[in-house]
Amino acid sequence: MLIITLYKAVPARTTKIVTVGGVLRREEMDLVMNPFDYKAVEAADYLKRAFGGKVVSLTMGPDFKLKSIASNLFDAPVEGVDESYILSDRRMAGADTWATAYTVSLGVKKIVETHLSAVDELLSLLRSDGSAESFAEKARELYEKNLVPNAVYSTLPTLRGATLAERLLGGEISREEAVRLLEKIRKEVEKFIVIAGIKTSDGETGSTGPQVAEALTGMLGKFIPSVTYVRELEADPEAGNVYVERKLGDYIQKLRVPLPCVITISTDYRPRTPQLKLKKRARLYSYAKKVMDSVVWNADMLGADPQLIGLAGSPTIVGPGIDVGSPPVQKFVGKTLVFSNRVEEFEFNGKKYGPFERLAKADELPQEVLEHLKGRGLVKVFSLEDLVEELFGVRVSVAREH
């Protein structure tokens, strides 16, 4: 299986956010991997160990900031990812979820196409008059580039004699048979899966996963399913399906989802233990190695429409921020001065004050007026009893009789 995990780098500390006009300046902050995306890597890792394939990580953002995060993923959490792709371009900055989904989907498409064209190269060799030797040579080259699985070519001792290249060289299988087997491998690449976290800790929208499915729907010209909040995941790569369980509010949905598809993994997900009987298959469909250098693609390499990426391609615009303000009147128990009873309008030093309701705040009156009221026992410190009265409408003397 070609397993593509999406992840995002988010600000390490919410206290040190750098924004310009509401747009995060990721290049100026300490970044960490979005915590929700670890679940996606766990699920990807499970699929690889259970069914074979390779885990490719894909992200978008300034590459010089992302490379260290990408390299951490090579050994996390179990077998880790095998390859890393970073979409990095100044023109991609300031993207909202629409522009992000568009850009990331172009990345997904390019990763899939790269793998498909490797298989196609071999297929065309088989279909032309190329010798078995030249086929094996090409297979070795592509295998070393990590583009074809062990089933095609391998240096693993456990698979000696079992690869397509060796069987073709040894005359065990015909060219037609080899074509059939390669086409099966091609189909597996076509039936890729994209896995993401349910949301990010900075934006929290949860929109990107479904929008990537929608973007791929447009780019590939067929409906691409999205399944969010997946808590259980199984696969049947031979049939090209995954089986998922998701929680939708108060109910659970179990689905059979044809590949390719996009899923987002819930924090409730726990990977299972792969079945031993699948081990051989997993080995055959795995790839040579981890390619530890991140591949960086810019907008031109993706063939992105400059009008649809970054700030330019974002339908939404972040407007001004609002402060979470203080309420107009604040009273502190044991501190705030309030009227102990209703006080009708009165005059003091030629100025009119009031009327005041019982428990109205008196703090803001001029000092001499306060002294005057205090002297007459009309103000007091706001008490817990007063709070109960004001909140619940319960005069405490009444409550005590209860």
């Binding site: 919410t14 956010i17 924004t19 509401g22 979820t97 629409w98 989904a101 900075d202 934006g203 929290e204 929208t205 949860g206 929109s207 990107t208 479904p210 929008q211 499915a213 929608e214 729907t217 447009g218 409906f223 399913p225 399944v227 969010t228 909040y229 998701r246 939708l248 509010g249 108060d250 109910y251 659970i252 949905q253 179990k254 689905l255 989802v257 044809p258 974002s314 339908p315 939404t316 615009i317 972040v318 407007g319 921020g321 609002i322 402060d323 979470v324 303000g325 309420p327 604040q330 009273k331 502190f332 128990v333 044991g334 501190k335 817990l384 109960v388 909140l391 619940f392 319960v394 409550a399």
Partner: protein
């Protein structure tokens, strides 16, 4: 660029459960009513599913002027692809000015897909909607977009921002449950119900629903409570810094809740901060559960009275409670940010104050 003037009306994607509209649906209908009235537009309820005949008028009773119903046995179970297909088709043909969803599992996925398909923006997790002019400054000059929706949402976990979709229509958002107060159900409200016939291509049904089963419903209804007493990490220690058994604090909160129920006869619940829930405190196992979480990643609440006991009030928590009519903060630290938005502050120990409050309300105190 699309010509924006031909886009009209505020659409609400309505969700049905057990034969009635869900509460968040009625909330979003009220939010839609608010902006539609400012714009002189209609509120349109969108119902997609199967066997909707009986419920078709319900959105009207909660404030809609019109309901568009797409009723088909093929749409019995929620599935992203056919539902997206139906809604996108409606949007393209009928051109709504705004389209609102609920910020839950279904609304987030469906809204996101429809927004992408129809090439418009989506503001997620909105807590309020306002109508404002949007002024855009570009190197080419300043442009004013009249009457846009300011989609208010918590942003980057540190502030609240207004999100605008000035150049594209419809303006789409998903709204956090608890953000609006539903209009009272009124069967005398007038409105029309129209049927929508969708021709969905068979390939749209490639995903197979193998099983659907209901989970036991949570009995904790934070969004509907009139009084919420919430606990935070302050339960771990008293004012003198001595460790306390958090279960004791929980029992006080329970007693206070019971006393409030007795005195006021209103729905009262116990809430908790994210910090307390994620601490997985053994003594509170099974009591302080995820369904009690208040705040940006938990539930947005708007009770008449919100009592925050031992909660320092991170911005995520404050955002989740800012619509409460009266906020009472109990905290030993006078600098705790929770006091910034509290109507009533008590600097003190919750282990002393909660039992006192129970006592003052005539309950059996601690």
């Amino acid at each position: 660029m699309q010509e924006n003037t031909e886009y009209r009306d505020v659409w609400v994607y309505c969700e049905v459960q057990d034969g009635s509209l869900t509460r968040p649906t009625t909330e979003v209908l009220a939010g839609a009513r608010k902006i539609a009235d400012k714009m002189g537009m209609k509120v349109v309820g969108i119902l997609v599913g199967y066997n909707l005949e009986k419920i078709a008028r319900e959105p009207i009773y909660y404030g809609a002027d019109r309901v568009i119903v797409c009723d088909s046995p093929l749409l019995k179970s929620y599935q992203a692809i056919p539902y997206t297909y139906v809604l996108s088709d409606m949007v393209v043909k009928l051109k709504p000015w705004a389209f609102l969803f609920i910020a839950n599992e279904i609304g987030r996925e469906l809204g996101a897909r429809v927004a992408y398909r129809t090439m418009t923006g989506l503001a997620a997790d909105c807590i309020d909607l306002l109508v404002e002019d949007f002024v855009m400054h570009t190197p080419q000059g300043t442009k004013v977009f009249k009457d846009c929706i300011a989609q208010v949402r918590p942003d980057f976990a540190t502030r609240i921002a207004k999100i605008f979709t000035p150049r594209h229509r419809p303006q789409m958002s998903n709204i956090r449950p608890g953000s609006f107060t539903p209009l009272p159900r009124d069967e005398n409200r007038k409105g029309e119900v129209v049927q929508w016939n969708a021709e969905i291509p068979p390939e749209a049904f490639a995903v197979e629903v193998i099983e659907e089963r209901s989970l036991p419903k949570s009995t904790i209804k934070l969004e509907e409570a009139k009084v919420i007493i919430s606990l935070g990490l302050g339960v771990l220690k008293d004012a003198n810094g001595n460790p306390r058994n958090p279960l004791e604090a929980y029992r006080y909160a329970e007693k206070l809740a019971e006393a409030v129920r007795q005195r006021l006869g209103v729905a009262t619940e116990i809430g908790a901060s994210r910090a307390l829930i994620y601490s997985n405190i053994k003594e509170l196992e099974g009591l302080v559960v995820k369904d009690r979480q208040v705040g940006q990643t938990g539930k947005t609440v708007a009770p008449d009275i919100y009592i925050a006991a031992g909660i320092s009030g991170a911005i995520q928590h404050r955002v989740g409670i800012m619509r409460s009519k009266k906020i009472v903060a109990i905290n030993t630290d006078p600098q705790a940010p929770i006091f910034q938005i509290a109507h009533y502050g008590i600097v003190g120990d919750l282990y002393e104050l909660l039992p006192k409050l129970v006592d003052l309300l005539g309950g059996s105190g601690g």
